[in-house]
């Protein structure tokens, strides 16, 4: 019999009951909650007279609607100018209080983007099943947890039953062999993967990312990769547990301590795919082939290397794909054959659950240090992923580097990744963004998003157009 994949192991260890029709009830260890996808679930509980099955399995923090300027944040809830947003945030506070759920509220120093805060607090642990009413829950797979996004009905279902009704996914392995070139980051890896397999390439699969280039990443880099598994169509991304994982978790507030830590860390060491495990699909990528990536269209698969140019739909043999490309280029206001380095930028956004952790901010700061944001750039935001990331960055003086270079240093939240708060990209404006989606209108009505790594966004901020960050790093080394 073939061995088990990491996904098989996580699935089997959480299987409550298997039904004849192929569906299964899976036990959920942790539910993360934010203000946008939870109010209707709490309301459902109330209407049915139900209580949470296990209140202590839930962990909440508001993030999507939170204002990110200091002035607004100083005023607390009153600082949320949009009354509809404010209601959503206060509703989360009220619901958590009513149902006895742990919440890091807007004024708590530890508040932030739920996918940054969960791992940071140790609320995400290896071997857990984790859900959240948010598709980027795949992020937590970086720690060897089975984590994926769910809809609001399922949020309510998990609150009420601690279980989720699931059918098992297929197993995919994406192996990135060899070492990354200098200046190439986790974000470039995952964009290159999506470019390779497409936005539906992972549909129906759980993707395990492996290989030397992946295992050489820090846990934060691994989170960036797993975060965008959903952009490749896979609800969950996974990375095996190793020493790097354990070192990241040790000592975090929700992580086990003392004797229990010893036991847990032994158990977690087993969270790797067996050497003879069967994968339904295997994709192998050579790390040496990956160079900094930039998206040019309205889907994350519309991506090109920084040295490339915008492809020509007339040369695309698949007619449906050609039509999509034309639609995307029209929306983006770009022409086939344009060099990626000739794309001019109006706005820079460094943040989001993909790239707002301390290492992301360090990478961006290293590039902008001693430079100024180009005069043609109208807005350049740096939005740390949590209050603790912000504090750490300030302790290292990164805030000063950004401010001196002309970038705005903001308070933590989802911000312009999806523009539910006041941070919005104007119509027709081009933005170099470290977020995860370049869909039409995602960052603001009519806004044009280009997804890149933090270092690439920083380099673009200084130049006003895309540049190969590897050239800048080389210059700095001299």
């Amino acid at each position: 019999m073939a061995g088990k994949t990491l996904y098989d192991k996580l699935w089997d260890s959480h299987l409550v009951t298997q039904r004849d029709d192929g569906t299964a009830l899976i036990y959920i260890d942790r539910q993360l909650i934010h203000e946008v996808t939870s109010p209707q679930a709490f309301e459902g509980l109330r209407l049915a007279g139900r209580l949470p099955w296990r209140a202590d399995a839930n962990f909440a923090t508001p993030d999507h609607n939170i204002p990110t300027t200091k002035d607004e944040r100083r005023q607390g809830l009153e600082g949320i100018k949009d009354p509809v947003s404010r209601i959503q945030v206060t509703t989360l506070d009220d619901n958590c209080r009513e149902f006895g759920i742990f919440e890091l509220d807007m004024n708590d120093e530890r508040q932030g983007i739920v996918h940054v805060v969960g791992p940071e607090q140790g609320a995400t642990l290896p071997g857990m099943t984790i859900v959240c009413g948010d598709s980027h829950t795949s992020t937590h797979g970086a720690l060897g947890a089975l984590a994926h996004g769910i809809g609001t009905s399922e949020v309510e279902h998990v609150m009420a039953t601690q279980c989720l009704l699931q059918t098992k996914m297929k197993n995919m392995l994406i192996r990135v062999d060899g070492r990354l070139n200098p200046g190439v980051t986790a974000k470039d890896i995952v964009l290159a993967i999506i470019g390779e397999i497409g936005t539906a390439g992972g549909t129906g699969y759980t993707i395990e990312f492996g290989g030397e280039a992946i295992m050489s990443l820090s846990v934060e880099g691994r989170m960036t990769v797993c975060n965008m598994a959903i952009e490749a169509g896979a609800r969950a991304g996974l990375i095996a547990v190793d020493q790097t994982t354990l070192e990241y978790i040790k000592g975090r507030p929700f992580a086990p301590k003392g004797e229990m830590w010893e036991q847990a860390s032994v158990a977690w060491r087993e969270l790797v795919s067996d050497s003879d495990a069967h994968f339904d699909r295997v994709v192998v990528i050579d790390a040496a082939d990956i160079i900094p990536q930039v998206t040019w269209g309205t889907s994350p698969e519309m991506v090109a290397p920084i040295t490339g140019e915008i492809p020509d739909p007339d040369k695309e043999s698949n007619s449906s794909r050609a039509a999509n490309m034309r639609q995307a280029l029209k929306y983006m206001g770009l022409k086939p054959g344009t060099k990626i380095t000739d794309i001019q930028l109006d706005c820079i956004f460094i943040g989001s659950c993909t790239n707002s952790r301390i290492e992301d901010l360090r990478a961006a700061a290293a590039v902008v240090k001693g430079h100024k944001v180009a005069s043609t750039v109208e807005m350049a935001l740096v939005v740390p992923g949590s209050g603790l990331v912000k504090k750490q960055a300030e302790a290292e003086g990164l805030d000063k580097i950004f401010i001196e270079a002309g970038l705005e240093w903001r308070e933590p939240g989802c911000s312009m990744c999806l523009a539910m708060n006041a941070d919005q990209l104007g119509a027709g404006k081009h933005c170099a963004s470290t977020s995860n989606r370049n869909f039409e209108g995602r960052q603001g009505f009519g806004g044009r998003t280009h997804l890149v790594s933090p270092a690439m966004a920083a380099a673009a901020a200084i130049n006003g157009h895309f540049v190969d960050v590897r050239d800048m790093l080389l210059t700095q080394d001299r």
């Binding site: 309301e43 009413g133 769910i150 609001t152 539906a200 999509n324 539910m420 209108g441 009505f445």
Partner: protein
């Protein structure tokens, strides 16, 4: 109504500004908002006064009152927002026909009484052609028999998970059904707590 576009994401189906509602209803008027109207929509606005985009298929009078949406590959990708099926349902769509869907969206449809049907892309092509060729074209979806009846009398069979079909047909409450297995959940939980106590209430 034919929506001839691949990779329609949930931001396309319902833009984020409408996610601020704490209700489940009322999203229909903002379904496909950025394409349906020419200006930018905001929650609480009177949508009847907004300029319609005449080029968007939904605004063609012939598709008024449509309850079947015909779509392309990877429909519903992106954000997990259940507001997307809420908006489709609130507008009046009961069935979606497409060659493929994103997983989370597909799942969310069943939770809201919408039937997402997967058909071979060649068959979907032929339905697009038929709908566009004939004004007032209508087809009947028989969930019980798992077939789509075309005006020509031809029937196209489709697959649907038996449990989901059962729930759709009977309008069942998922939570109530799961709680019938409460003893199994409790037994599992007890065993799991014994084996992995670090997942239970360890807080610093």
């Amino acid at each position: 109504m034919p929506l001839d576009r691949a990779n329609v994401d949930t931001d396309f189906i319902i833009p984020k500004q409408f996610l601020k509602s704490i209700k489940r209803s009322g999203f229909g008027v903002n379904l496909f908002d950025e394409h349906r109207y020419l200006d930018k929509g905001e929650p609480g606005r009177d949508n009847s006064q907004r300029p319609l985009n005449p080029d968007f298929v939904m605004n063609q009078p012939r598709y008024k009152g449509a309850s079947v949406l015909v779509a392309r590959e990877n429909f519903g990708c992106g954000s997990s927002r259940e507001h997307a099926p809420w908006a489709l349902d609130d507008y009046g769509f009961r069935v979606i026909i497409a060659p493929s869907y994103a997983d989370i969206f597909f799942n969310n449809c069943f939770k809201n009484g919408i039937l997402p049907i997967v058909l071979d892309s060649k068959i979907v092509d032929s339905i697009f052609a038929a709908v566009e060729a004939e004004e007032g074209y209508s087809l009947t979806v028989d969930l019980e028999q798992q077939k789509i009846e075309l005006p020509s009398g031809e029937a196209i069979p489709f697959e649907v998970d038996s449990f989901r079909k059962y729930c759709l047909m009977n309008g069942l409450d998922d939570i109530g059904l799961t709680l019938q297995d409460a003893d199994k959940i409790k037994n599992f939980e007890q065993r799991w707590r014994g084996a992995s106590p670090w997942y239970f209430g360890v807080q610093g």
